[in-house]
């Protein structure tokens, strides 16, 4: 059994699938990073992804253009995040509860909306046409390199955008005045307020960006990954993204690595499901178990680091104390 497993893992198509599975989690994780940097916890990511996945499919069906569909998903994502912002920032709904409400709409609400717009129940499989799917991109030169080409070339356009977004998010957060404001608001909003930063506006902007990223993740799910929308397709990816953000210490690059870890767990699950002698149910729980383990490891590491710095500080200040 293990031999069989190892044989599967050390093949280019396995690593290809890791990248493929990581993409939507990465979008959502970056969404969590931006929101959390501004000091707002967006637990509505799960719902936003589900709703935008639906609207991406519907809009691309109506226009028969995947590009318009992706754009639509992006806009719906922004709108939902701003709606959450309106309730959380203006009406002072606890943002966690606001997020839960979004997740409710993402759960049963999407099934209702689908019926409302199309009369279909639970999935859009029969609507799918090739024009509605996000195209795959073969990168010239790279695709001809053995192994590496097989792993890195031929992904969906959005996959490349997802990894590019890691860089863009970092650039936005650390090299622009907007990013500085976002981080300032997240660090200490009173201080930011006192130097004339509009805290509410910055939080709205951060939420909007986070909604846009989650929208791209949703579009990826329904318009590429499973080629149609069905209820429950997000399957906790929005929640896993929150864990990826926490594990990545709230930084874009760190979150990318933790997203890749969860992508790996998921790909492993997909491979093992078909194997003899494996309980498909226990295998299906692997990504969630890995997420909890990841949280634990991250928390332990943080505590160690804090202790270490404290000890170092104590060592430095102790002699000074003796002299007194």
């Amino acid at each position: 059994m293990w031999e069989q497993l190892f044989e599967m893992i050390f093949k280019p198509d396995f690593l290809f699938s890791v990248i493929r599975i990581t993409s939507p989690i990465l979008f959502a994780a970056l969404a969590a990073v931006v929101a959390e940097k501004a000091g707002v916890t967006n637990i509505g990511l799960e719902g936003i992804m589900s709703i935008t996945a639906l609207f991406g499919t519907l809009i691309s069906y109506w226009t028969q253009s995947w590009a318009v569909g992706v754009l639509g998903a992006l806009i719906v994502g922004i709108a939902l995040a701003l709606l959450l912002g309106f309730f959380a920032l203006k009406l002072k709904t606890d943002i966690i509860l606001g997020g839960i409400a979004l997740n409710m709409i993402g759960g049963g609400g999407t099934i209702f909306l689908l019926y409302l717009f199309t009369g279909l129940r639970g999935n859009t499989g029969e609507l799918t046409t090739p024009e509605m799917l996000i195209p795959q991109v073969n990168i010239p030169l790279l695709k001809d390199i053995p192994v590496v080409g097989e792993i890195l070339s031929g992904h969906s356009l959005l996959t490349y955008i997802a990894f590019f977004m890691v860089f863009l998010t970092w650039l936005m957060l650390y090299k622009t005045s907007l990013g500085l404001n976002i981080r300032a608001v997240g660090e200490n909003q009173n201080a930011a307020d006192s130097v004339g930063v509009s805290v509410i506006k910055i939080k709205y902007i951060a939420l909007g960006i986070s909604g846009a990223l989650a929208g791209l993740g949703g579009a990826y799910m329904s318009m590429y990954y499973s080629r149609s929308w069905n209820s429950g397709m997000i399957a906790g990816r929005g929640f896993i993204a929150l864990a990826a953000q926490a594990m990545g210490q709230g930084e874009p690059t760190g979150s990318m690595w933790s997203s890749l870890l969860f992508g790996l767990a998921n790909a492993l699950k997909n491979k093992m499901e078909g194997m003899q002698g494996m309980s498909s149910y226990l295998v299906a729980s692997i990504p969630y178990v890995v997420t909890v383990l990841g949280l634990v490891i991250y928390a332990v590491a943080t505590i160690r680091r804090v202790r270490k710095t404290r000890r170092a500080q104590n060592a430095m200040t102790a002699p000074a104390g003796e002299e007194k």
Binding site: F87, F112, Y115, F239, S279, Y288, Y298
Partner: protein, 372 residues
């Protein structure tokens, strides 16, 4: 007197939120069907009243029986949210409690009265113990209880499905389910031949117990104080860590108990193939009840009524029952919105303060007049 006015304001505000949600519902219904009036009648009246306007007792039993699991999850969430712990694993707790209670009900025969109690206790204690995971991770390592409890839901679901499918499935049946549990493990009916069992009474007893616990005991006080101000509680000498763990363990116990009572009361085998959703309804109920256990039954009744109404609307008016989720989300958002209608509250507070000052002034003047 001021408190009474604020209370009335809160009630009015709640109704405003519900009316808003119903207005949204009307819009969606209008998009789905031409007969809006008929659909609304199905949703709002039919759960309790028959077509000719007479009271329909059977339908009431259905609504009341729906409240049993959600009262428990509502209480569970109340306790956890009171301590400001956003643990969302009541969902998984229900499933685990229901599954283990069923297993004991099938494989461990016991005397009639004892059997049910042992089944329920084992399910509830197991669910309580699993809550140690998010609770201890939070207290010892500072990991978000929200993320870990959400993951825990999925893990519990898959582990239960694993054992259900591979170890305990009754292969003679078309769908995956366990063997039927023994008669001695069934929760007896409160109203014969309906789904309304004694579980309803147990649920109400637990409402009282949780209310006493939260409002009349030291631990309950600590839970509420930590929810209001954790730093203050810590510096005033409360064992914050233990209380946080306690609140989540109690939440797990209540959720597991609710799951056990639901399965042993409503069904004759365990047949859930996915998370049953009662945990999320419990969150809504706790929000509607504003974390007050005594209000939980009313909120649970409201939700059960609405759910039944949406079902009837689906069967008789062709509007998908999933609309409930949208109504629920809207109510939820406005109920939890502190600033919703805040301007009116401001006016009320100002008015109340003015009146009080005037009264004080008058009585002072009267006292002075008396002295002179």
């Amino acid at each position: 007197m001021r408190n009474k006015r604020m209370f009335l304001f809160e009630v009015a505000r709640g109704f405003a939120a519900i009316l808003l949600a119903l207005a949204v519902a009307v819009i969606f219904i209008a998009l789905c069907t031409d007969d809006v009036g008929g659909a609304l009648e199905q949703m709002l009246l039919r759960p309790l009243f028959a077509k000719n306007g007479t009271f329909n007792a059977n339908s009431l039993w259905v609504v009341l029986s729906r409240m049993i699991p959600t009262i428990f999850t509502g209480l569970a969430v109340c306790v956890m949210f009171s301590a400001n712990q956003f643990n969302l694993a009541a969902e998984g707790g229900v499933m685990l409690g229901g599954f283990l209670a069923t297993l004991v009900g099938i494989y461990v025969p016991m005397a009639a009265g004892l059997h049910l109690v042992v089944c329920l206790l084992i399910g509830a204690v197991a669910a309580a113990l699993t809550m140690l995971l998010p609770a201890l991770l939070k207290v010892k390592l500072g990991a978000s209880e929200m993320v870990s409890s959400l993951m825990l839901n999925y893990i519990i679901m898959y582990v239960v499905l694993h054992f259900l499918n591979n170890n305990f499935a009754d292969r003679s049946k078309g769908s995956t389910q366990t063997f039927p549990f023994l008669e001695t493990a069934a929760v007896p009916d409160l109203v014969p031949n309906t789904d309304l069992t004694w579980g309803f009474v147990i649920a109400l007893v637990f409402v009282a117990l949780v209310a006493v616990f939260l409002f009349r005991t030291r631990w309950g006080y600590a839970i509420r104080m930590i929810g209001i101000n954790q730093a203050f509680s810590k510096y005033s000498g409360m064992k914050v860590g233990s209380v946080i763990v306690l609140s989540q363990v109690i939440g797990g116990f209540l959720a597991g108990l609710g799951g056990g009572i639901e399965v042993l009361g409503r069904y004759s085998t365990f047949l859930w193939r996915e998370l049953p959703g009662y945990g999320w309804t419990g969150v809504t109920i706790a929000i509607l009840a504003k974390n007050n256990p005594l209000m939980v039954p009313f909120a649970a009744f409201f939700m059960a009524y609405l759910e039944r109404g949406c079902e009837l609307m689906r069967t008789n008016a062709g509007v998908p029952a999933e609309m409930l989720d949208i109504i629920q989300a809207v109510i939820f958002l406005f109920f939890a919105a502190e600033q919703f209608l805040a301007r009116y509250r401001q006016k009320l507070v100002v008015k109340g303060a003015r009146e009080e000052m005037k009264q004080a002034f008058d009585s002072e003047a009267a006292a002075k007049g008396g002295n002179a």
